[in-house]
Assembly symmetry: C2
Homo-oligomer: 411 residues x 2
């Protein structure tokens, strides 16, 4: 792999930084771009002129005075990304559902479609064929917006993934393991295909939303069927050297604890995951027969309703899940000390019942000297966040490829 250094291709990282800033913050004046990126006015003027010549950025007249509240004088000229400068695809694979969305260069979702498909019946090759058919049809139907092939494809998969090699290691949505999805799709679409687990995609979406996060390191914990995590360190999603980092759900609460879906015992997930809650609930009350391994949202909402309506045994399950989560977060804080921790996912449906014990568990487990630690925020579950993040990842990669190609051509 060739290593590039900034001193030889100095314009490219700065151009990428400008695009990234405009995508996250929206239209901005040159002076504000300069302040945020640390570039001098002259450099900003020169680089944005390039970006405008390439059709990536355009001028638009903003409100008077913009951020400083001064309403007199000439209107400030704002720079903005050109929405149709690129079209990228985001795909999300969850149990029995494949969603596809089309994003513009600003990172906005323009169109999306859902397909109910029995994902667990698909073998490795069938999955690839199905995805290619769905993506091709989707792009064809949206030819008015999207050129073929799209500038980037990013796939969010529930489960354990190797983001480096592009392999699905294990997913509750699929019966088969070790599916080299990126390799198969790259044969069809070229190098612009990437894959990550859904928690990483959600972390990307949060990192691009300045309303949510304040610029420090953060973790997003996904409650649901399993317990996932996305980790953003120094501004980037952290995947680790093996591409499989942030498997928070398989850190341990208790050695020899209850059996986890991973085959080991005592993982956080074996207390907090939907399947674990349902398993314990069946030991407490009679429940209608249904899919134990992959509980539906209706099944889980029924348990939550019973707990809220006075079933103290069920309520205790959610409280205990909260305590276990608090202990897990204490370990996370001891090891990494992130500035913010977000908790979201469909499993956060019962967060109000979990939270008091979560806070108590955290206080019990955490070294007092480290307790000035992170803020812990419940983020209402937005199922589009993963798709949004997949689109964001595609665009980050697209920006890099664009300038790397340009750099190579010039050298």
């Amino acid at each position: 792999m060739m290593r590039r250094t900034e001193s030889e291709t100095p314009r490219q990282p700065s151009q990428t930084a400008i695009l990234r800033y405009l995508r996250v913050h929206g239209p901005a004046a040159r002076i504000d771009i300069g302040t945020a990126t640390g570039l001098s006015p002259a450099t900003v003027t020169s680089l944005t002129a390039d970006l405008m010549a390439q059709g990536l950025v355009r001028e638009s007249e903003g409100g008077n005075g913009n951020t400083n509240g001064n309403t007199r004088g000439r209107p400030k000229v704002l720079l903005d990304l050109v929405p149709n400068a690129a079209c990228v695809i985001g795909v999300k694979i969850t149990i029995n559902l494949i969603e596809i969305a089309l994003g513009n260069f600003k990172g906005e979702i323009e169109r999306s479609i859902e397909h109910s498909i029995n994902t667990r019946d698909l073998g490795s090759e069938e999955l690839t064929r199905t995805l290619i058919a769905l993506i091709d049809r989707f792009v064809e139907r949206n030819q008015d917006f999207c050129k073929h092939p799209p500038a980037g494809i990013s796939i969010a998969v529930q489960g354990v993934t190797d983001s480096n090699s592009g392999e699905i290691i294990w997913s509750p949505a699929l019966r088969h393991r070790h599916i080299p999805l990126v390799r198969s799709l790259t044969e069809r679409y070229g190098g612009a295909v990437q894959m990550s687990n859904d928690a990483n995609c959600i972390a990307t979406a949060i990192s691009q939303n300045t309303n949510l996060h304040d610029g420090g390191d953060f973790a997003v914990i996904m409650l649901g069927y399993g317990i996932g995590m996305g980790l953003v360190l120094n501004g980037n999603v952290y995947n680790g050297d093996f591409g499989t980092a942030a498997e928070f759900g398989h850190t341990k609460f208790q050695p020899d604890g209850p059996l986890c879906n991973c085959g080991r015992r005592g993982c956080l997930e074996a207390y907090i995951g939907d399947y674990a809650i349902l398993r314990d609930a069946r030991g407490l009350i009679d429940l209608p027969e249904a899919n134990n391994l992959h509980p539906s949202e209706d099944q889980m909402m029924d348990l939550v309703a019973r707990a809220r309506n006075g079933d103290t045994g069920l309520a205790e399950l959610f409280r205990h899940a909260g305590k276990v989560l608090g202990y897990g977060i204490a370990n996370l804080i001891a090891l990494l000390g992130p500035k913010q921790i977000f908790i979201t996912g469909s499993g956060a449906r019962a967060f109000d019942m979990m939270e008091p014990e979560l806070r108590r568990g955290l206080a019990e487990a955490q070294v007092p000297e480290l307790s000035r630690g992170p803020t812990i925020t419940h983020l209402a579950w937005d199922k589009d966040l993963a798709l949004q993040g997949a689109i964001g990842q595609s665009l980050l990669r697209h920006d890099e490829n664009m300038f790397q190609a340009a750099g190579t051509a010039h050298n």
Copy 2:
């Protein structure tokens, strides 16, 4: 804080990279520097000419042909750091021992001295006064090598430190908590003072030793009085947003487990730390009265000898400590998946008794799909490694300050 970007000051990060490369790899030809840093031959020639003009780098004739084994032709000209281009100070504070070392610009320890001092009797101000007196006397006695004030001072402290604010939060070497050491020393020595815990310093030393590590992310676990960790992610020691990351010893093995020195229960340290082993040993056998809270090396070596000589109860303590460590490492792998894990520290004196259970515990706790994870290496305990790392940290900071100052002057 001003943000710098590479496009405006492109020479500085590249110069820092060249110094860092020479410090880690020793004398090297321009062509090898270029290959390693990704800089073009012309850029290397220009930047190294600058560094030579500044008296930081010099030419020396190396062996014939150097790395390629070709012994014919002209001898290759190698570049090397000028040892006396800077002098920095490393200080190490452990229980009742303060060590001071003087490092040259190449990162080699030139002189060092040990002071037996009852550190636990020192208050915050006394500690500062003592350190200033010791450092000043040391520098004065080594005036032949070191100008006053030294170009950098880096302090390694056993315990929990906030590397961002420069505060000792808690150390077994000190009775008082929350000591703003860096602030106090900065009043005397200016901005070139930094502090970190000993594990972070050891991580720095390892990151600068290509014989030990292969360039990926790694963690170093320090066994001893307590259990520390240094974490190197993307080439830099990771301190987290609160400056207190990598408190591996206070992640949990078991809720409601034995009492830890931190005041909580079930931390890894409460099973593996010297004080924990000694506490349990006193429950098994009669031992001479001695310092329970701060066991001496002799006390610990006595326990190890008894375990090796057939005391099955004591042997089981070390085996169980190994199991707990294995579970802790499984959590670390799940969360971060580093490429290498090193285990060292004075507590590794019993590593051979711990290792089989460590491997078993790790296998028991780890998700099978993530088991292709890191290599785990026992690193023989070298008590100079922390001082070596403190010197290394001082030089990294010195390089940055030097070019930042130069950049500011030019702008």
